[in-house]
């Protein structure tokens, strides 16, 4: 365990770790493009140069192993000038099309330029022209001119996804990232290349031109796309959710996430959701406040205790399962509780990296809650009960992400055999609104980004996450629904109400808006540009 000094701060690192890792540990700033903690060291961007005491030449931090007593600094004028020049080498052939570039606002080149640059360009000659808007595959678009050839994406396809679609072709300043014609960048992790691209060379087709990044806020949460439970950041503003990116978690997903998981934002937005409570009887549809609807259901459930059954999917939090199951069991003594398993065949599959066949974030949590309340519902019982009409009122906590429920439609048909189908769910399921022979009550629920809770992933790891924002204000959580259905009222403890930011800062309301818009380090100084 050698000790070293980084800019005067002493730090102890593991054997064989590099100066770069020591910089990370001390949280001292160091410029770099090609180094990525999840990939091998390339050492080609040459930005991470630093002074090592006793070494006349500056060394790169990413490939120099820390030795005992090493004194490193990157604060000297010599190093700063060196970084400035290396940055200039990066920029001389850069097209500077920040206005149309999606990366603007979170671009490595912009960040370092604000830190080290701010000079007049000295390059008077023509820039090297390369290919623009190259279609690399179904998910990614390449702009070779913006590329700084850090080779992160190439190393990703070689080392992590092991698909090797990308390569750097030609040499010198004619080098270009690309795929061989006839072979596309098409793998289940392809969008990670966009995340690790420090500039705007690789952009996501899905996110392209939808928002400028400085209009977006982000919030950390856990992906509910499958039972791996990758740690992710969701990006949103008042118009809705726009993208999902991975967050490093050594125990779960490392630095990566799959392309499927990046689509989860799509079912969070309003147009994919039930927004009000709906009661549908004999083809007639009335809208109702969700809370009132849930409360109304209390009477019916209480009256028909023995004929009520509950179906749960693995898409809710542990807290919600516990609230729902215990209210069913304790308040009403209902034990007909069943677990709805989607894609049964591939349920246990795993691709070796992140993707799991179980497309629910919290199957483990549900099973644990059911076990705690000693419920052993077998799916066959439900089918039989519906057939012989011993189950008349069926409460279903449906999927949030209906895309992963292949058997959704057949199951809706199955559930329609009951007399009264109570559907709790966030995703808009159109087939429910076409059922005419059964009474349907729909209570809109909140999605995982609108509530806090815990998911237990396939490895048994409990992951708590926080609320990001609220999209459908009227919607309830499953816990709230459980409370209302058991006839109680919702009480909101005062301490939990978040204080609005403007009160604390004594800001006017419109100033808060402005503040939100201009976050993400985007500093636009009037008059100076």
């Amino acid at each position: 365990m050698p000790k070293c000094t980084i800019n005067g701060k002493e730090v102890e690192v593991k054997d064989g770790q590099t100066i770069m890792e020591a910089f990370y540990k001390t949280e001292e700033p160091i410029a770099h493009y090609c180094y990525h903690p999840g990939l091998s060291v390339a050492g080609v961007c040459r930005l991470c140069i630093c002074d090592i005491e006793g070494n006349p030449r500056p060394q790169i931090a990413c490939n120099t192993v820390v030795t005992e007593g090493m004194k490193v600094s990157n604060k000297s004028d010599k190093i700063k000038d060196g970084v400035k020049w290396v940055l200039d080498f990066h920029l001389i052939n850069h097209p500077l099309d920040c206005p149309v570039c999606d990366q603007a606002g979170e671009c490595g080149l912009q960040e370092q330029y604000m830190e080290f640059g701010k000079y007049d360009p000295e390059m008077a000659e023509h820039k090297v022209k390369k290919h623009k808007v190259v279609d690399l595959g179904p998910t990614v678009v390449l702009d070779s001119e913006r590329c700084v050839l850090c080779s992160r994406c190439v190393r990703f396809t070689d080392e992590v996804s092991k698909t090797s679609e990308l390569g750097i072709f030609n040499r010198g300043d004619r080098s270009e990232i690309g795929t061989v014609e006839g072979k596309k960048l098409d793998n289940k992790y392809s969008l990670n290349t966009v995340d690790i691209c420090p500039v705007g060379a690789l952009t996501s087709k899905d996110f392209r031109f939808r928002q400028r990044v400085w209009y977006l806020k982000d919030s950390e949460t856990v992906c509910n796309g499958c039972s791996t439970g990758c740690n992710v950041k969701v990006y949103f503003n008042k118009e809705g959710f726009f993208r999902v990116k991975p967050v490093y978690n050594e125990k779960v997903n490392g630095h990566w996430m799959c392309d499927e998981g990046r689509d989860i934002y799509k079912f969070l937005n309003k147009d994919a959701r039930f927004t009000t409570g709906i009661v549908r009887q004999k083809g007639e549809q009335t809208e109702m406040a969700p809370g009132a609807l849930a409360k109304e259901l209390h009477k019916e459930i209480k009256a028909k205790k023995d004929q009520v059954a509950l179906v749960l999917t693995g898409q809710y939090t542990v807290e919600e399962y516990d609230a729902m199951v215990s209210s069913m069991v304790k308040e009403f003594g209902i034990s007909k509780i069943y677990h709805w398993v989607n894609n049964k065949e591939s349920f246990d599959s795993f691709d070796g990296l992140l993707l799991r066949g179980d497309k629910n974030p919290n199957t483990k949590g549900l099973l644990q809650v059911l076990e705690k309340h000693q419920i052993k519902g077998v799916w066959g019982d439900l089918e039989a009960g519906l057939k012989n009409k011993s189950i008349k009122t069926l409460i279903v906590a449906g999927p949030e992400n209906k895309a992963v429920f292949d058997n959704l439609e057949t199951h809706v048909k199955l559930f329609a055999q009951a007399e009264h189908l109570v559907w709790l769910g966030s995703a808009k399921v159109d087939s429910l609104l076409n059922l005419n022979n059964v009474k349907v009550s729909i209570v809109p629920l909140k999605t995982f980004v609108e509530k806090e809770g815990t998911f237990i992933n396939a490895a048994g790891l409990e992951q708590k996450f926080k609320r990001a924002t609220t999209v459908v204000h009227e919607a309830l959580t499953l816990t709230e629904t459980a409370i209302l259905m058991s006839g109680k009222n919702l009480t909101v403890p005062m301490a939990q109400i978040e204080k609005p930011a403007f009160l604390e800062n004594k800001r006017r309301q419109d100033q808060v808006m402005l503040e939100n818009r201009k976050k993400n380090e985007f500093v636009f100084k009037r008059g100076s540009l």
């Binding site: 390339a42 080609v44 000659e125 040499r171 010198g172 080098s175």
Partner: protein, 429 residues
């Protein structure tokens, strides 16, 4: 005067073949070497003070002793990717005396304990590859290669690998990358090839001339070898003399030989009516010497280093007074721009930038500040990359611009060459 040690029998056509080579003292010393202790050979080479003839001039014995002391398989690679502009000595050695190289390699391989060696020859050398491959076959047949060489119990295999045209593969890690079937991009150091090289195994990469010289160190002993050359630069060296001299060619002389003599005696002096203007003493990457400096220079590592240049691969390029230095820098910059592997940013972008600036000066579009910009860019490319190619591109710029600044300024001001007028426009009409 030439001192023919390595090139003693190069005039004999039969020296190319095994029989002729054996007739002239070939493979005699191999037996002697195989009876020695490997460590003794390393010590002998170390004692001889032999320095790498490829360009860097690093002590060969020292390099060999960096090998980790374990039983991992290790490789010996002969660097015959002779790409440095002005250098053509390795080609001569491979064409005229392939067995001399092979013998030296077997001895070296025995010393470093390598069971497999490669000769990496640049792709353009079709004929030398042919000669080498034939010689390797001959050596296998005669039992100098293969299992249990000359009954010593030492096994060794040798293979010739053809490159495909990349200057950067002359850099040892670039060469290893190329040998591994990748782009010839240099690898990060550390780890050095002697620790982790070809296929992540310890690898020794030596130049053709270095490996061939090993034979003579074994034959005569380190002490005898040290008699050649100077105290710190012992031995003889092949110098590739080219450019504006009457008799260009390869000349083997003692290290420490006067550059003036090399040009005027061996090279036959300048062409009629021409005067010496500048000399690049160690291949295109070496900083240029003015005529005055050249008259004082002796061809050894120390003297040239002292004069701010280097011996490099021993390619002496003579430039006479009819040549335009801006033009020559343009030629070099085009070369380095073309050959930069594109890995490290300062080199990838810097070589392109230098090339653009020099050519805009040549086209008559230069600005006076461009001359300083050349220096600034070159200064900031130096020592900032994985391999030495960016230094190799930067050093000529710095020396050309500082030593012949008047020519550059004249070109920028007048839009034509001080020496050759507006030749450039005619050449690129």
């Amino acid at each position: 005067m030439e001192t023919k040690l390595l090139t003693e029998f190069y005039h004999l056509d039969e020296f190319r073949f095994l029989d002729g080579y054996k007739k002239n003292g070939g493979y005699v010393n191999l037996e002697k070497a195989l009876k020695m202790q490997p460590q003794a050979i390393i010590d002998e080479v170390k004692a001889s003070g032999l320095r790498g003839r490829g360009g860097a001039g690093f002590s060969t014995g020292m390099k060999w002793s960096f090998l980790p002391k374990n039983n991992e398989p290790r490789y010996l690679v002969c660097n015959a990717d002779e790409g440095e502009p002005g250098t053509f000595k390795d080609r001569l050695m491979m064409e005229r005396a392939p067995h001399q190289l092979i013998e030296g390699m077997i001895m070296s391989a025995f010393a470093v304990g390598s069971k497999k060696s490669y000769i990496y020859v640049r792709g353009e050398y079709y004929y030398p590859v042919e000669v080498l491959e034939q010689a390797v076959q001959e050596a296998y047949k005669a039992g100098y290669l293969g299992k249990n060489i000359l009954g010593s119990g030492f096994d060794h295999d040798m293979d010739v690998y053809r490159g495909a045209g990349a200057y950067i593969c002359g850099e040892e890690t670039g060469l290893i990358s190329s040998l591994e079937g990748q782009k010839g991009q240099p690898k990060l150091k550390p780890p050095f090839p002697a620790v982790k090289g070809y296929l992540q195994k310890p690898t020794i990469v030596n130049n053709v001339e270095t490996l061939a010289a090993v034979k003579y160190i074994i034959r005569d002993g380190a002490a005898a070898y040290k008699k050649f050359g100077t105290e710190k630069s012992p031995g003889t060296k092949l110098f590739s003399l080219s450019g504006n001299v009457r008799k260009p060619g390869n000349y083997e002389v003692n290290l420490g030989y006067s550059l003036n003599d090399l040009i005027n005696n061996e090279g036959g002096g300048m062409k009629p009516g021409r005067k010496l203007k500048a000399v690049i003493p160690g291949g295109s990457s070496a900083p240029v010497l003015t005529a005055e400096e050249a008259s004082r220079a002796t061809m050894d590592y120390e003297c040239l280093a002292q004069m701010g240049t280097m011996l490099g691969s021993g390619a002496v390029i003579v430039i006479d007074d009819s040549q335009c230095m801006v033009d020559m820098l343009g030629v070099l910059m085009h070369f380095y721009h073309h050959e930069s592997c594109g890995q490290c940013t300062p080199c990838r972008e810097g070589t392109g930038w230098l090339n653009k600036i020099t050519h805009s000066i040549l086209e008559g579009k230069g600005r006076l500040q461009d001359i300083d910009l050349l220096v600034k860019v070159a200064d900031n490319m130096k020592g900032r990359t994985i391999c030495a190619l960016s230094d190799a591109a930067a050093l000529p710029v710095l020396s050309f611009v500082t030593k012949f600044r008047d020519e550059f300024e004249f070109y920028v001001r007048e839009g034509r060459s001080k020496v050759r007028g507006s030749f450039y426009a005619q050449m690129h009409h």
